[in-house]
Structures are given as structure tokens and as C-alpha cells.
């Protein structure tokens, strides 16, 4: 019948067939699930085939035998492949594919419209479509060996354009359904990228194993591709390297721990990082992306998918961290979302487009493109962990019966990585939660606590020790301005919860800090939850008890030095927009990593810097917090939104008495008496004094007023002065 069709359409009647299909079009707008019922006819009657409901993507319906076996999958070519006939109107064919990848049958979903075909009977068309029964659609199905010699000219192939369209519609839809229902479960797709193992490698090892791939284009190559000439054809036009940076052995080695982790934090658990580095004359980035937001010179291709690289998913990297790595003119890191369809376990390629040479002698030159193939080495792949044991997996690898295959259709549920981490650190999380609950209670009932001076002082020292010991040295949960920068960038490049969930303690802490900023200002973190702050305060406390004299910074100078930390913070933020790596280097102004995370086991310049800050802190309490801390500055800015002003003052404070102002941990109390909430670390010391009748001048006066005759000598100026002195020294 196919030959018959060829005859008819051989010379000039092609269009008639097109028109025929076009004429059918109006009758099939609602073709779909209802039309799939005819697929039952494609299977043997003795199986009593039944077509079930359409579901899944691409949409298809299971055809099941009476005994429950899956006979095949029925589909509509229009629903699956959006098939269009030659005249640009929908073309719909119902077909079915067996679990073995063979077309079980196909039928045009057409109605009784008159067919305006000159000379082509409707039956011929139907027969052509029906002829697809038995066609094997698996990969390579179209391949055959041909006689190499003695082959005469082939007969002029007369298969009409429409037959080509019909064939394409059936085969393409059939393949899509087959791939999604059956082939996707093959052993190839069971392997996953190993995202969990942490190890380090080296540049040369990565190159040797093919984890980093290279492409060199000489100026001669480029000239040939761009239809132009070059005077120095042997020189390098571009030397480009490509790597999948998601596994730690590749990403962490190339980027260094800090950048790698911060980038990992920006992507979802199933997303990927791609590193592209290059040197030479030609830039893979060009400049167009700054305007359009999409890189126009590079594109990733994988199978039938195209991935454009977007400015929002791009991070400029200044240099590679790996020892032995060459210097590059430009390095870019690109985030690829799993939802885009990218599969890191499969081969992919990078297409680099060489922009047109405007000096080219011929105005027409075909697009100049070079490609670099990449495949992640097998050592970075693991078998899916959902398989209970290796033995069971091997059994399953044998020929799975169609029924088994169908039952495996439920995609293997992947538990996000952060679930595991939270479970592993559950005790720390509970302890932190208790700590925060305690702090919350203390803040809410602050008057009750601060009115009991001894209780307050013990609580304060105890809490600082807990913060330093548990949060700092044990759990390493020291918040840093790096978190703030990462957060800002995450907001700029598409915020994802997953990334912040990877460190549970930091996540819980930040959540609490966010709320506490809203309620009481930034001081709750700085005064209670910052391990380095606690370290400074405890050391200063010890120094004071040992009789170290404190330096009083004149308020005018003090107030102006505050500005430093804001400048530092804004500087870091600004630099991060250009290079996050440079910003992280600047963030070393925080001695947190040296003092808390690494416990002073670090290169000597860092250690000296941290020690110096602590030493100064013995004389000027919380010196670093007052003037330098960029995190404090970062928190002080949103803290202007705070809702409660609970710190109590007397109207007289600052007028005749400056006890609180002079003893304030960070000198946040103005000589005139008011507390500057931007600087206040909420240590509540002034509140304890507020209630302390032995310290507060106002209370003393009031008591005296009530009992004017009881102790007439108490309120002499001399006594007041002594009292103030005592407080300043001994606290």
C-alpha cells in the first residue's frame, strides 16, 4: 500500500494530500482521551485489552490485558508531539507502543469529511498509517547495512511529504512515550551523580581522568571558520576548559572550599554547577549578556535539549584554587537547575559560537561554531540508593517483565539532602532551640530578671559561656557577614530554601535573629548569640577583675568611629556584586573564622590579627563590635524597623548621673542619657542598674525623699562621687 501511495503522490499530487489532512482538521479539535479507545483494536482480542485513563507526561494511557498485564501504551500524536500537518493545522493519529518498543498499531483520527485529494483514496492513507504496525522504534531502528558496491541509482524516492509527516508524528510520539514509560527505567538511568562524598583532588588528576576537558582553537582555525584570514594562524584564539563542578572532588578542588560551599548553597539539591575557564584572544562571555541577560556565545547541548546560560545563574570567579591550575583570562561558574532537564550523568557538549568577523571578505559565512564534548567520569557516579541491596539490584537487572517494569513507574523518591543533615544534628538543634527559648523568655520577662541583680549577672555570664563554648567552639555556629552577602545574592539570583537549610544551626539562629531584630533590634544577636562577642566580653570581664584599667573613648570620637563598620559592610556588599570571591576575602576582617571556627589554628597573620583585637578588647570593651564589625552594621540597618522600646530610663538619666553611660558595654548610651539602639547590644546591664537601689542615683534620691530624716548624710555630693567611682571600677 505504501507503494500505491508513492505512485499517487509521485509527481504533483502532494498538495492534494496535504489539503486532505487540512480538511480533516476541523473535525478533530477535541481528539484526546476519548479517541484512545480505538487503541484496544491494536491488540489481540483474546487478551481483552482495555484502555485506561490518560496520565503522565507525555500523556499516554495504559492498555491492559484481562489478566492485568500491560500490553502497551496508547497515545495521541497531537497530545504527545503536537504534530502539525503540512498546511500548519493539527494532525492527530492514535497509536500504541508495546513495552518492547514496537508500534502495536496506528490509526488516523479522522471523520467523514470529503477528501479533496485528486486521486488518492482515503483507504490508501489509512493503509499507510496502519502499516506502521510492527515498526521497531528503539534507537538505531532506522539503521541498516547497505551494499557498498554495485548499487545502482536508487529509484527516485516518491514518498510524499505527508507520508513523512505522518511517519514522524507516529515515531516521535512513540519514542517519547516509550522513553518515559519503559526505557527511562533501564540501568543507564539508575546511576546518579555522587553529590555526597567529600574529597579533594588536584588539577592534573582532574585533567587525567577527564573531569576537566579542554578545547583549543587556533587563530588559523578561527579564521577558516569565520571565512577570514589571520597573520599568525598558530597562536591561540581561545583555550577553553569545561568541568561539571557539582561533585566536591571537582568543584571544591577547583573553586576552594569557601566559594564551592557558597555556590552549593545557592542551588537546589538536584541542581548542578558548570565551570568554564578560558584564556586567549577571544572571550566566551562577550559583552552582549550584560544587556540581554543571556550569554550569546556559549550554549550547553544535551541530547535534544538546549540550555542557554543566563546572567542570573552566573558567577564570576577570579582564579582557580586548585594547585597546578593554569592562569585564566576569564572563569565563569554557571548554575543549571534540574528542572531545566539537564542530567549531569549523561554526556553533554558546550557550543562556542565565534562571533562574525566584520572584516571578512565575503559577506556570507555560515555560523562559526566549535564544540567541546563532556562526560562526567564514572567514578563520580553512584547507583541509586533506593535499591535495597546490591544483590536485589542485580536480580532486578535481569530482563524485567513488562508488569514489573510498569510497577516501577513510580519515580524513586529522593529525600533532600538537608533532611539527613538535620537528623544527624538533631541533638545540637534541640539544645540550640532550648537556648533560644531561654533567651526569648529572658527578653520577654527582662524586667523581672534585671530587677534581681544577682540572678541577672549569673545568667549573663552563664549564657555567654554557653554561647562561646557550645555555639562557638563546639557547633561552629558563628554567624558571619558572609551569610548576609550570600543571602543578598540568593535574593538576586532566585531564592531557594534548600540552600539555607544545609546548616541547621545557622538556619535556626538566623531565623531567631530575624525575629529578634524585628522585636528588639540587632542587639539580641550581638549581645547574646555571637561567640566572638562573648569571647571579648568574658575576657574583658576577667581583665577587669584582675584590675586592668579601662580606656574611656571620648564620646565625640567614639560616635565618629561607629561609621567605620558601616563603611566596611557596604564595601563588602559592593565588592560582592563584582566578585564574590573578593568580598569573601574582605570578610576576613571578621576574626570569627580564626578565633572561633579554627580555634586559632591558622596562618600567623590571621592569628596575630585576632589576638590583637582581643588584646585591645581588654582595655576597650568589645572594641571590634563597636567600630569594625560588618555583621553588626549589616544587622543594624534592618534593625531600624524594630517594634518595641522596652529599655527603661528615668527622665533624669543623663542629666545629673552618667553611671549607665559610662559602664555601658559598648558605650551606646549618649552622655545626655538616651540609648542609641543602633549600637546597643541589649546586654541589659543598664536595666539591672535601673532597678538597683545601691547604684542608681535616681532611686537613691527617691528613697531619700521618702525618708528625708532617716540618713541625712547619704546624699552629699562627696558620697555620690564615691559611689560612681566604685561602680566604674568594680561594677
Amino acid at each position: 500500500m505504501r507503494r500505491l501511495l508513492k505512485c499517487f503522490s509521485r509527481r504533483c499530487r502532494v498538495i492534494g494530500l496535504l489539503v486532505a489532512l487540512a480538511a480533516m482538521a476541523p473535525a478533530i479539535p477535541n481528539a484526546g482521551a476519548a479517541e484512545l479507545g480505538v487503541a484496544a483494536d491494536f491488540f489481540p482480542h483474546e487478551d481483552m485489552p482495555r484502555v485506561e485513563g490518560v496520565d503522565g507526561s507525555p500523556p499516554a494511557a495504559v492498555v491492559r490485558a484481562r489478566d492485568g498485564r500491560i500490553l502497551g501504551y496508547a497515545f495521541s500524536t497531537r497530545d504527545v508531539a503536537g504534530s502539525i500537518g503540512y498546511s500548519g493545522r493539527p494532525l492527530d493519529i492514535t497509536a500504541a507502543v508495546t513495552p518492547d518498543g514496537v508500534i502495536a498499531g496506528a490509526r488516523i483520527v479522522a471523520h467523514e469529511e470529503p477528501i479533496l485529494v485528486i486521486g488518492i483514496p482515503r483507504e490508501a492513507l489509512a493503509a499507510y498509517v496502519a502499516d506502521f504496525k510492527g515498526f521497531d522504534i528503539k534507537a538505531g531502528g532506522g539503521l541498516r547495512q547497505v551494499a557498498a558496491a554495485g548499487r545502482g541509482p536508487q529509484a527516485v524516492a516518491g514518498a510524499s511529504v505527508t507520508s513523512a509527516v505522518i511517519r514522524d508524528a507516529i515515531l516521535r510520539s512513540g519514542r517519547a512515550v516509550f522513553r518515559s514509560r519503559v526505557a527511562a527505567l533501564g540501568p543507564d538511568n539508575v546511576s546518579r551523580l555522587d553529590r555526597e562524598s567529600r574529597r579533594r583532588s588536584s588539577w592534573s588528576a582532574l585533567v587525567d581522568e577527564g573531569a576537566v576537558k579542554q578545547l583549543v582553537v587556533t587563530r588559523g582555525d578561527a579564521a577558516r571558520l569565520r571565512n577570514s584570514r589571520d597573520t599568525e594562524p598558530d597562536k591561540t584564539f581561545i583555550e577553553l576548559w569545561l568541568a561539571l563542578a557539582t561533585p566536591s572532588a571537582i568543584g571544591e578542588t577547583l573553586l576552594g572550599q569557601r566559594i564551592y560551599e557558597s555556590e552549593l548553597a545557592k542551588i537546589g539539591a538536584e541542581d548542578d554547577l558548570i565551570l568554564i575557564a578560558a584564556s586567549g584572544l577571544y572571550s566566551f562571555r562577550g559583552t552582549e549578556w550584560r544587556k540581554s541577560g543571556v550569554f550569546d556565545r556559549i550554549e550547553l547541548q544535551q541530547g535534544d535539549k538546549t540550555f542557554r546560560l543566563r546572567a542570573g545563574d552566573y558567577e564570576r570567579i577570579d582564579a582557580l584554587h586548585a594547585a597546578g591550575a593554569p592562569e585564566f583570562r576569564e572563569i565563569g561558574l554557571f548554575r543549571i537547575a534540574r528542572t531545566s532537564g539537564f542530567n549531569p550523568t549523561q554526556p553533554f557538549r558546550l557550543d562556542l559560537s565565534l562571533s562574525r568577523d566584520i572584516t571578512s571578505p565575503s559577506r556570507i559565512s555560515p555560523p562559526a561554531l566549535v564544540s567541546l564534548d563532556y562526560r562526567i567520569p564514572d567514578t563520580y557516579l553512584t547507583q541509586a540508593s533506593a535499591v535495597p541491596s546490591p544483590g536485589a539490584e542485580r536480580e532486578a537487572d535481569g530482563q524485567p517483565s513488562p508488569a514489573n517494569t510498569a510497577q516501577m513507574q513510580v519515580p524513586l523518591m529522593q529525600v533532600p539532602l538537608w533532611h539527613d543533615i538535620w537528623w544527624q544534628r538533631r541533638y545540637e538543634i534541640v539544645l540550640l532551640a532550648l537556648m533560644l527559648a531561654g533567651l526569648g523568655a529572658l527578653l520577654i520577662f527582662q524586667n523581672w530578671v534585671t530587677a534581681r541583680g544577682r540572678l541577672y549577672r549569673c545568667t549573663r555570664i552563664g549564657y555567654l559561656l554557653l554561647t562561646l563554648g557550645f555555639l562557638g567552639f563546639f557547633a561552629n555556629a558563628q554567624l558571619s557577614v558572609v551569610n548576609v552577602v550570600t543571602f543578598v545574592h540568593a535574593l538576586l539570583s532566585g531564592f531557594r530554601w534548600d540552600l539555607f537549610l544545609l546548616d541547621p544551626l545557622v538556619f535556626v539562629l538566623w531565623s531567631f535573629v530575624a525575629v529578634s531584630i524585628l522585636f528588639w533590634g540587632r542587639g539580641v544577636f550581638c549581645g547574646w548569640l555571637c561567640p566572638f562577642g562573648a569571647l571579648q566580653e568574658l575576657l574583658n570581664e576577667a581583665a577587669r577583675r584582675l584590675g586592668v584599667a579601662q580606656l574611656q573613648v571620648p564620646f565625640g570620637l567614639h560616635e565618629r568611629l561607629w561609621m567605620l563598620k558601616y563603611v566596611i559592610f557596604l564595601g563588602i556588599l559592593a565588592v560582592s556584586l563584582h566578585s564574590i570571591m573578593a568580598a569573601f576575602a574582605m570578610a576576613e576582617i571578621e576574626p570569627f573564622k580564626t578565633a572561633i571556627t579554627l580555634k586559632f589554628v591558622r596562618d600567623w597573620p590571621f592569628v596575630i590579627y585576632a589576638m590583637l583585637l582581643l588584646a585591645v578588647g581588654l582595655f576597650i570593651e568589645r572594641f571590634f563590635c563597636r567600630y569594625l564589625c560588618p555583621l553588626g552594621a549589616a544587622l543594624a540597618i534592618p534593625a531600624r524597623m524594630r517594634m518595641f522600646e522596652w529599655l527603661k530610663r528615668y527622665r533624669e538619666c543623663g542629666a545629673e548621673c552618667h553611671i549607665c553611660a559610662r559602664t555601658c558595654t559598648v558605650q551606646a548610651i549618649h552622655p545626655l542619657g538616651q540609648i542609641n539602639p543602633n549600637e546597643c547590644i541589649y546586654c541589659l546591664q543598664c536595666q539591672a542598674k535601673y532597678f538597683d537601689s545601691k547604684v542608681c542615683l535616681h532611686i537613691k534620691k527617691r528613697i531619700e525623699r521618702r525618708q528625708p530624716r532617716a540618713a541625712p548624710s547619704v546624699n552629699t555630693p562627696a558620697h555620690a562621687a564615691i559611689s560612681v567611682k566604685g561602680v566604674t571600677d568594680g561594677r
Binding site: 504533483c12 493539527p90 534507537a139 548499487r151 513523512a164 543571556v294 541530547g303 535534544d304 538546549t306 559577506r363
Partner: protein, 336 residues
């Protein structure tokens, strides 16, 4: 041009070098290295690739690669895909964030339109649609009335296409087709992909024939033409336009190769073949020059490098033009 550019190459056939093949012998013949032919479908036409002297495994891997690449490119360039980039562009009049392939194909189309003074015009899709619509309702097969054609012709002007950054915008009522170079573009992409995989004896035939080296036994490819001498192909690509490839209407007066200046089918040439190293360029030029006068052909050929053009008029007499630089890789067998 129009959507069924397709069939014009059905008039062509690849000859496997019959006599020479026997004489040459096969150093690598046998099961390991034979000729394998893959046949499939691409850009609205039957596609074939002949892997000469390649083992079955290598050929199968290459066929898989090719199938995926065709699928990928069709998502951008094929008018027969409901959600392809070109379909969306025609529907919406604008395509933001086009892929590199779409941008490059359109850019090349505009370059060729400019180099041929509009003889090639991607916006002739409006004409094609006008004719198809007309013939789907006209029972007697007369050509469409002039006002209808004139109206469609209003939407034909490649200069109203705007490429900026990564977006493409059409003028009012404009629709474009890449079928005048899309198959060639895909052919080039596949050929380059296969070359990158180390294949050196391959013929890619998606309507245009692009040779990746000659056959493994040292014999060039032979491309047959309807009633004309075959052409020997050593490298580069051949594209042939033949009005008879796709006749519209029962009376056969109209075919798919429109002259963008008049809105009517061109009837000057019977068959026109172009050789260029790029199948996309050959494809577009074979479409453009089909409507050209001999002077216009000579003009284009002098202006561009690496071009050979054979055109046979309605009496069957064939003329030949070639660029002064780089016109090698193919010769007509009547010269031999």
C-alpha cells in the same frame, strides 16, 4: 520555498559510485567496516546519512547522536512543531530569548537576503499560506486571484525582521519560514558534530547533500539529478531546487518556489543546483537563484566566494557559473 521545499530533492538520488566502487575494492570491508545507512526524518523531510566504512556500533552511536540533535534543532527551526521557536515566532510576532541556533539561522537568512537583494526572503511564508489556503477550498485548481496574492505579498519583506540581542521580532502580519535554509542548517550541524566525533567518510542528506570527506574506498559521492548529469561531490554541500518537486493545485501551474518580488512561482529555470561548503548557504542560494535571471546569478557568484551554480532552463539546456575563489569540491559528470 515555502513549507514543502522538501520534495524537490526527491528528484535526487545518491549514487554509490557504481563502477568505480567495484574497481576500487574495500580495504575495510566486511562486518567491521561496511557502509551503513541511517534513515529517519528531519525538518519535514526524509533524512539519510550514509556512514562509509564504519562498524555497526559506531554507526548506531552516531545515529543516536544525530537523532537527538535533529530533535533538538527541530524544537527551534521546524514549522511542523507546535511549540518550536519558529512556530511561536510566527504566532506571537516576537520571540524573546531565542536559542543560538534560531538566532544564527535567522541571521544567516538575513545575510543571504541582503546579498541577493531579496531574492531569498524568509518572509515568503505568507505567500505559501495564501496559496495553500486557496487550493484547499478551490476545487477547479485555478490560481488564486491577484488581490489575494497582492495582500499576502504585503507581508513579504525581510527588512522588517528585527534581530536585537537574543530576540527576534517580525513586522505586522509577517510569518517566516526557515525551510529555505533550515534543512541546510541542520545538515551542517550534524556534519560538524559527526566530524567532531572522528567520522571522515559520511554523506548527510536532508534534502541537501553534504559530504564529510569522500567514501572510505577513495571514491567521491555521486548525486544524481532528474534528467540531468549526475554531480560528483568530494566535499561541501549540494542543494538543488526544482519547481516540479512540489506542485500546488490540480492544474500544476503553481509550485512552491515563489519569487518574492512578484508573489508568483518562478518559471525561468527547470532545475537549479548550488554547491557551497555550507549546506545552509547552498540551500538558501538554490532557493534564491531559482527566481534569478542569468545576470543576477552571475552577479551573486562574483560577489561571493566558493560558489558553483548549475541551472537548466525549460528546454533542458544547462548553464554553469562559478566563483573565482574556492569553487572546488563538486563537478558535473558530463564534463568527465
Amino acid at each position: 520555498m515555502g513549507a514543502s521545499h522538501i520534495t524537490r530533492r526527491r528528484a535526487l538520488t545518491i549514487l554509490a559510485g557504481t563502477t568505480a566502487g567495484l574497481a576500487g575494492g574495500f580495504a575495510e570491508s566486511g562486518a567491521k567496516a561496511a557502509d551503513h545507512e541511517w534513515s529517519g526524518y528531519a525538518m519535514g523531510t526524509d533524512a539519510r546519512i550514509i556512514f562509509s566504512g564504519t562498524g555497526i556500533e559506531a554507526a548506531r552511536a552516531a545515529a543516536e547522536l544525530t537523532t537527538a540533535e535533529i530533535e533538538r534543532l527541530e524544537k527551534a527551526l521546524s514549522l511542523f512543531r507546535a511549540e518550536s521557536e519558529i512556530t511561536r515566532l510566527n504566532r506571537d510576532g516576537i520571540l524573546p530569548a531565542a536559542t543560538g541556533d534560531m538566532l544564527r539561522a535567522v541571521q544567516l537568512g538575513l545575510d543571504i537576503a541582503s546579498a541577493t537583494n531579496g531574492l531569498f526572503d524568509p518572509t515568503v511564508q505568507a505567500l505559501w499560506e495564501c496559496y495553500v489556503d486557496w487550493f484547499s477550498v478551490s476545487r477547479n485548481g485555478d490560481i488564486p486571484p491577484q488581490p489575494l496574492v497582492a495582500k499576502a505579498l504585503n507581508a513579504v519583506d525581510w527588512r522588517r525582521i528585527r534581530l536585537s540581542g537574543n530576540s527576534i521580532a517580525l513586522g505586522d502580519n509577517q510569518r517566516i519560514t526557515l525551510n529555505g535554509l533550515g534543512q541546510g542548517y541542520v545538515t551542517d550541524r550534524i556534519a560538524n558534530l559527526l566530524r567532531g566525533r572522528g567520522f571522515n567518510h559520511v554523506l548527510v542528506d536532508l534534502g541537501e547533500q553534504r559530504a564529510l570527506g569522500i567514501r572510505h574506498d577513495g571514491i567521491p559521492w555521486l548525486v544524481a539529478r532528474h534528467g540531468l548529469p549526475a554531480i560528483e561531490l568530494r566535499h561541501g554541500a549540494l542543494a538543488t531546487s526544482e519547481g516540479a518537486g512540489c506542485i500546488l493545485g490540480a492544474k500544476g501551474a503553481v509550485h512552491h518556489l515563489f519569487d518574492p518580488r512578484t508573489g508568483h512561482s518562478s518559471h525561468r529555470w527547470q532545475t537549479l543546483t548550488v554547491h557551497h561548503r555550507s549546506a545552509a548557504v547552498a540551500d538558501a542560494l538554490s532557493t534564491a537563484l531559482y527566481s534569478a535571471s542569468p545576470d543576477e546569478i552571475a552577479n551573486v557568484v562574483t560577489k561571493l566566494d566558493g560558489l558553483i551554480v548549475w541551472a537548466s532552463d525549460r528546454s533542458g539546456r544547462e548553464s554553469r557559473w562559478q566563483s573565482t575563489i574556492g569553487a572546488t569540491g563538486a563537478k558535473s559528470m558530463d564534463a568527465a
